[in-house]
């Protein structure tokens, strides 16, 4: 017994000493002492999609401001509440819940723990003032991508399919559809959008967000067979399966990336990427942590909405978009920002 407690004491002393050493070495950073925490949606922090974008933002804030980062991945919906509870127990200053699936759990946690601050990415708040919803108007940038796709396409058939029929996915598909149709109205050249009809809200869905799903590949193959030569898969990382489908069909079709700039993030696909529709969650997370940890702005439950206007969303520049198209897209973007173009018409 004695021996054990002596060992424990020695351990504590050692921990204290190492802490002193550590704090002595590190140069003081503006966010030191602030704890930022993230809970993922079902899936890992390296999903090449929205979980990863948020993690990138948290990592960036950690590196630049010296804040402490704690994170937990959720494997199923059963993990949401315990993961959030662990973060509350770990005395986090802000807890970022990624994804629409956590919306019930994070609202419950925010109401039960009014002194903790929460952020829900892609979710909403039931009124708690300590819960900040982060949302995106993805239809705006998707509209630009739809126009670019229709313009680039030689067959004038463009394809789109989603992971699941949920608002966060169909926003992309609606914008893409109307953007492609805007090209048709403007030039008089008929454009066919396969996989989604925004007027009837019917289309092709994989049924989940598992990376490179075989069902997604089959849908892509079907759309390629219908002549589509630009495809947009809105369902996380489906680009391996899609590029296989393109190769197997012997097609020269291009893909449109989702959430991140795929041309930069995954150069192996750069030759196939017409553009990417970026949901800049990395920036939003970084800004929220910066405001709280560095600028010491009081946390509020006011919603953050990423738009073309505040640079929260946009499409990526690539070599496939020529100067004429780039100029046209800039006009459209200005039109959406000033309200003269509705991306959902």
């Amino acid at each position: 017994m004695n021996n054990v407690s002596r060992k424990a004491l020695a351990g504590v002393a050692m921990a204290a000493a190492s802490l002193l050493v550590l704090s002595g070495c590190a140069s003081p950073k503006p966010g030191a002492g602030y704890i930022e925490c993230g809970v993922s949606d079902e899936g890992s922090w390296t999903d090449k999609s929205f979980n990863e974008s948020v993690m990138d933002g948290l990592m960036k804030a950690k590196d630049e401001f010296g804040v402490e980062l704690k994170s937990a991945e959720s494997n199923s919906s059963e993990d949401f509440a315990p993961n959030l509870q662990s973060m509350i127990d770990a005395k986090c200053d802000v807890i970022i819940a990624v994804g629409f699936n956590l919306v019930d759990a994070v609202n419950t946690a925010a109401e039960a723990n009014p002194t903790n601050n929460f952020v829900t990415i892609d979710g909403w708040s039931n009124g708690a003032t300590n819960l900040k919803p982060v949302g995106y108007n993805m239809a705006e940038s998707s509209y630009l991508a739809g126009y670019a796709a229709a313009s680039y396409s030689t067959t004038k058939v463009v394809g789109v399919y989603g992971g699941m029929k949920i608002g966060a996915v169909t926003a992309f598909m609606d914008g893409f559809y109307y953007g492609a149709k805007a090209y048709e109205t403007e030039t008089g050249t008929p454009v066919t959008v396969v996989g989604w009809d925004a007027t009837t809200q019917k289309g092709d869905f994989i049924g989940g967000f598992a990376p490179n799903d075989a069902a997604g590949k089959a849908i892509a193959a079907g759309q390629l067979a219908q002549g589509a030569d630009v495809l947009l898969p809105v369902g996380g990382d489906q680009f391996g399966a899609l590029s296989e489908a393109i190769n197997e069909a012997g097609s020269s079709a291009k893909m449109i990336g989702v959430d991140k700039n795929w041309t930069v993030a995954n150069p192996e696909y750069a030759d196939l990427m017409l553009t990417s529709i970026e949901k800049r969650m990395t920036q939003a997370v970084y800004d929220i942590v910066k405001a709280a940890a560095v600028d010491k702005t009081p946390f509020t439950g006011d919603a953050y909405t990423g738009t073309l206007a505040n640079n929260g969303t946009d499409i990526s520049e690539t070599t496939f978009i020529d100067d004429a198209l780039k100029a046209k897209l800039a006009t459209l973007k200005a039109g959406i920002i000033d309200g003269s173009i509705n991306p959902l018409q």
């Binding site: 351990g11 050692m14 925490c37 079902e42 704690k70 994170s71 937990a72 991945e73 494997n75 199923s76 919906s77 059963e78 993990d79 949401f80 509440a81 315990p82 993961n83 509870q85 662990s86 973060m87 127990d89 770990a90 629409f100 699936n101 919306v103 019930d104 759990a105 419950t108 699941m164 029929k165 949920i166 608002g167 966060a168 169909t170 049924g207």
Partner: protein, 414 residues
């Protein structure tokens, strides 16, 4: 053939698969405890080897060997310390309620694991490799979801009806396997695995259809409405804890299982068939009917697990509410030696793993370590020679025709 003419030589040799199952289940507590220990030990190796700090300190081993060794110790202590504070008692908590919460979480997670573990255990004791708890739970969840979101009833009654619906739906799924096995001789492993897919997709389909289970004002995600408050399994220890009445159902299930298997004639028949189906048949037991009954009762336990799981979460239900419990149940049953007490212990251990995994992540340890530990424990239990060799345990005496001796003792055959 009359019972008197029964000769040992005429008995069919039991299939290899059943004898392996028997050997795995005959596991004595010592061997199981040693397997658990070894699982944790190898888990610690994984934690250490994949920790970047340790790797860095060992690359400078010559310069500072003490530091290198201490990082190893700290990594293990942090990892398993987080498991302790996430599953038993949080030593950093401000007050007792927050401190003890992890233990209540372990109990909460253990409930469904124990009930599903009993489901698999029961069929193991009858000599059936039942992989179907997942599917039975999915169908049970569908039943519970329908009653809890679409029907409206008074407090308590609503919850009990939802539980009953889950049990009945699961039983139907179990009986399908039993009948296929009994009437056509289809192998239960294949049938249950395939029915798992059918059940999962069926539940997803129900969740997609607006007229069936899809939430009223949702965005079209396959997700149900939140179950009515009247159907929820309320908090057992007040609002500070998430622990719910599911624990009571688990306790009842454990008692029923124990009584059924160890005390009732029904259970005796189950065990007879499990020991040696041909001997049981010769002794006049209707083996095929026993299979059907066993799978039906087993599925009832799975249904209870599904109801507990479905009627205790925040928000609407999706297929991911099943959370891999149907598969973990196989592990729990193996680890618990298919005995009521053993399953309780195994369920608690796995419940602690689930409760502790998020604090381990917060402490910076990959929760996959726990998956490795779980898998290794089962591997060691399923491979007795490894454990016997490692710890130099004696080889058990071969049990020759134990079933027949037991049957003779019980005067079923002469």
């Amino acid at each position: 053939m009359s019972k008197k003419e029964l000769k040992l030589a005429e008995l069919e040799p039991e299939s290899k698969e059943v004898s392996v199952l028997k050997e795995i289940m005959s596991g004595d507590p010592v061997r199981i405890a040693l397997s658990v220990l070894l699982g944790f030990f190898i888990g610690a190796i994984f934690m250490v080897v994949f920790n970047p700090d340790v790797v860095k300190s060992w690359s400078n081993f010559g310069a500072d060997p003490n530091y290198a060794l201490s990082t190893v110790w700290w990594t293990i202590q942090d990892g398993y310390g987080a498991l302790f504070s996430g599953s038993i008692y949080n030593l950093n908590a401000d007050n007792f309620i927050n401190g003890i919460r992890p233990l209540t979480e372990t109990l909460r997670f253990a409930g469904p694991l124990i009930m599903a573990g009993l489901a698999v255990s029961l069929t193991f004791r009858v000599g059936l490799f039942n992989i179907g708890a997942t599917g039975q739970m999915m169908v049970g969840l569908a039943g519970a979801t329908f009653v809890s979101t679409r029907l409206h009833m008074p407090q308590v009654i609503h919850m009990l009806v939802a539980v009953l619906a889950a049990i009945l739906c699961s039983m139907v799924w179990g009986i399908i396997v039993g009948i296929l096995k009994a009437r056509t001789g289809a192998h239960e492993v294949i049938v249950t695995i395939m029915l798992n897919y059918v059940a999962t997709d069926l539940f997803t389909y129900f969740l997609r259809e607006p007229g069936l289970l899809l939430e009223a004002n949702g965005g079209g995600t396959p997700k149900s409405d939140h179950p009515d408050g009247t159907a929820m399994m309320g908090a057992l220890l007040g609002p500070s804890f998430k622990l719910n009445y599911g624990l009571i159902f688990a306790a009842i299930a454990v008692f029923v299982y124990w009584w059924l298997m160890e005390r009732s004639t029904f259970g005796f028949r189950f065990r007879m068939v499990g020991h040696n189906a041909s001997a049981a048949r010769a002794a006049g037991i209707k083996v095929e009917n026993t299979f059907v009954w066993a799978l039906a009762i087993s599925a009832a336990f799975a249904g209870l697990a599904a109801a507990t799981q479905g009627l205790s979460m925040d928000g609407g239900l999706t297929t991911s509410i099943e959370a891999g419990i149907g598969f973990d149940a196989i592990t729990v049953a193996l680890l618990g030696g298919s005995r009521a007490g053993g399953v309780v212990m195994a369920g608690l251990l796995f419940g602690a793993f689930k409760a502790g995994s998020s604090s381990m992540q917060v402490a910076g340890v990959s929760p996959e370590v726990l998956g490795v530990v779980k898998a290794l424990i089962v591997l060691f239990i399923a491979a007795p020679p490894i454990i016997r060799a490692l710890y130099r345990l004696p080889k058990p005496e071969p049990k020759v025709f134990a079933a027949i001796q037991q049957a003779k003792a019980a005067k079923v055959i002469k």
